[in-house]
Symmetry: C2
Subunit: 403 residues, 2 copies
């Protein structure tokens, strides 16, 4: 039973409730909408543009030159393509870090009906770093709480290796004044940890902690290379981790110590990262990879069971991005729901729906998606977006970026 | 251009060729049909029946008791469900090891139109081991080369830990007399290697080599735990490896040294293993996992590039299962083809089809499937199987097994 934006009852419904619309749930499996806790939506335009390369070759020779050509329409149509992909694959909320022109992504969140936590990716070593920080302030002032509260804004200092400590301090102070949280890449590669130790005499978490950045509430993406001290800092500041198994595998970054983080009570969510390092925005892939990768890495078949992986992609994701009234199918929570068709071989025989969702099914079984009580896709048909136009425009924009 | 069972031309077609049927390939991406080089098709009935358990608990408490209840109709409907799933996800050939009643699986291969390499899984420590071996002989005599050559038969001694050396020797001699090849599980777990060393004073490959089993041509599934000596034996006997990344990850068996095997010229194919340890028969999953897992394991983003992973699932698979006139789209090869629709977000923008297939797409984009020149699925519609009936019967059989 959904009343406005919220779930008002599950199972039993009051006799005097007369719904305006009924969705027949026969043979459907309802889960909380997937939360993509770390992505760069507009990078869909660079999907499979450069693969199977060494990280610095990939960035310097391919990704950065293409990004340098991006115009507002690229940010717009790239994020629009992402919105199509996210709704089709059952994602209802995403934490995005990109820019410039993040107001274009806000526009798409508003129009598509998706829930979004936006941050301006700020490169502190850039000559116009202060202008970038100011654009994150503007983004916050204009969009935090917008679109019926579906849009919130964080600050996005990109990483410690692109933001000097004095700049991180400034970002922290600016965010603190507004009461805003932080979204940052942390300890993604071994090289990043080694360079930080060399340059600052501290590991990344201790170094960033010393700037005060973690005081405001933090969503930290990746967190692959962690030691005891790092994990102690994560726990001390209640830092939420966005684990990106697909990206970490594809870029050969390493394997985050997810079972340990979960055991120690850290909130571990899942993200796809950008489509150029994944190469899709399919959260069911990440849920499946999280369940599989940590089993083989720890040689423990009980590491990250199916239900835990599903929670990482839903309930823990909601907590990680700071939208605490989503991520569960319970009265009082927002009606952000993904309904899977359970017809077909992957769901047969019907032995265990959670296990079949995580280990056997594909996101093409997503049939209907609701956010804030509004239907964004029904019976595989998108209700808020013009998919054919978006595919056409994204293709057109991508062609120009490659020239 | 397909003439009978074979591809007779690619690209240019003779002016005087008047086809009986034309498949419009606009916006479709044709790949050689996927080859599932190691599976246990009828185990679809146990999909998600028991997950997230320790291996011996899983086998002893759940899988074996359910298997003990299996009747011929379970083998039949389980493999039928597998056939639906394989055709829908673009698989055109599969190497199966199971039993008893493998003639039921042969019947399904014949009726579905799939290509199959069947072996009777023989437990040599069973009291009726000789009868099991004889049933593999019968299977060979009745079905090797059947269904227009689509069915071939190998011998399936299950593993060295279920077949004493004298029995492996007997299987090898029996197979050699018929000119049949061997399909066997090898070095799947660390425990298997340690136990073999303890019991026989040799590692698994040296031990099995000493029985003469490798003289006939061998398809070895898993091959996770290998040292230099193992790899030397694999190369000496031209043993083809069926790598099962999904199963090895889910059961926490370990990571096979695939990049090294490929570098040393070993034929490495891909398999799903049974649906109870995967939990689907989707070869595009295995292709994607092979591309991702070895990058993160070796910390080399160039390990197993997209095209190599695709070849493991097609060309190398065909070689591994001993069907050498399939696996390539070239004149003279059998017309075993999978056509992907490239419409939709995962394929947009169209930057690199192979990369998008391996890293972004899902098998629900499989639109049309041909085996031996015959259309088994066209425009998502199965042409040889009654899917609704099969889903119903599989569900019915599975209920009985769980009682």
């Amino acid at each position: 039973m959904i009343d406005g934006a919220k779930i008002s009852a599950v199972g039993e419904v009051p006799a005097d409730f007369h719904p305006a619309k009924v969705i027949d749930g026969t043979d459907l499996f309802a889960v909380p909408g997937f939360v993509n806790a770390h992505t760069h939506a507009s990078m869909t335009l660079l999907r499979s543009y450069a693969d199977d390369m060494k990280l610095m070759d990939w960035l310097q020779k391919m990704i950065w030159p293409a990004e340098a050509k991006m115009q507002p329409e690229d940010i717009y149509w790239g994020a629009m393509l992402a919105a199509v992909e996210m709704i089709r694959t059952g994602t209802t909320a995403f934490a995005d870090m990109y820019g410039p022109w993040m107001e274009k992504v806000a526009e798409i969140a508003a129009d598509s009906g998706l829930r979004a936590v936006l941050s301006r990716g700020i490169i502190g070593v850039a000559p116009d770093a202060d202008a970038k920080l100011q654009s994150n302030v503007d983004l916050y002032n204009e969009f935090h709480g917008a679109a019926d509260g579906r849009i919130t804004v964080m600050f996005g200092p990109h990483a410690l290796y692109t933001c000097p400590p004095a700049f991180l301090k400034k970002v922290g102070e600016t965010a603190a004044k507004l009461g805003a949280e932080i979204h940052i890449h942390m300890s993604e590669t071994k090289g990043e940890v080694e360079d930080c130790l060399k340059q600052y005499g501290k590991r990344p978490f201790a170094h960033v902690e010393s700037t005060g950045l973690f005081e405001n509430g933090t969503l930290a993406a990746h967190c692959v290379h962690l030691d005891d001290e790092d994990i102690a800092i994560i726990k001390k500041h209640n830092i939420r981790v966005a684990h990106n198994p697909g990206s970490n595998m594809k870029l050969a970054s390493g394997t985050a110590p997810v079972p340990r983080l979960l055991n120690e009570g850290v909130t571990v969510a899942l993200g796809t990262d950008g489509a150029s390092s994944n190469n899709n925005l399919d959260m069911l892939d990440e849920i499946q990879l999280a369940a599989l990768l940590h089993k083989v890495t720890t040689l423990d078949p009980l590491a990250v069971p199916a239900l835990t992986a599903l929670k990482m992609g839903t309930e823990y994701g909601a907590r990680a991005i700071g939208v605490n009234d989503t991520g569960k199918i319970e009265a009082g929570y927002k009606a952000d729901l993904t309904l899977f068709s359970t017809h077909g071989a992957a769901w047969c025989p019907r032995n265990n729906l959670v296990s079949q969702l995580v280990y056997a099914a594909k996101s093409n079984d997503v049939k209907t998606v609701l956010v804030n009580g509004r239907v964004l896709m029904e019976n595989h048909e998108l209700k808020t977006l013009d998919e054919e136009r978006i595919l056409f425009e994204a293709e057109r924009c991508a062609k120009r970026l490659k020239q």
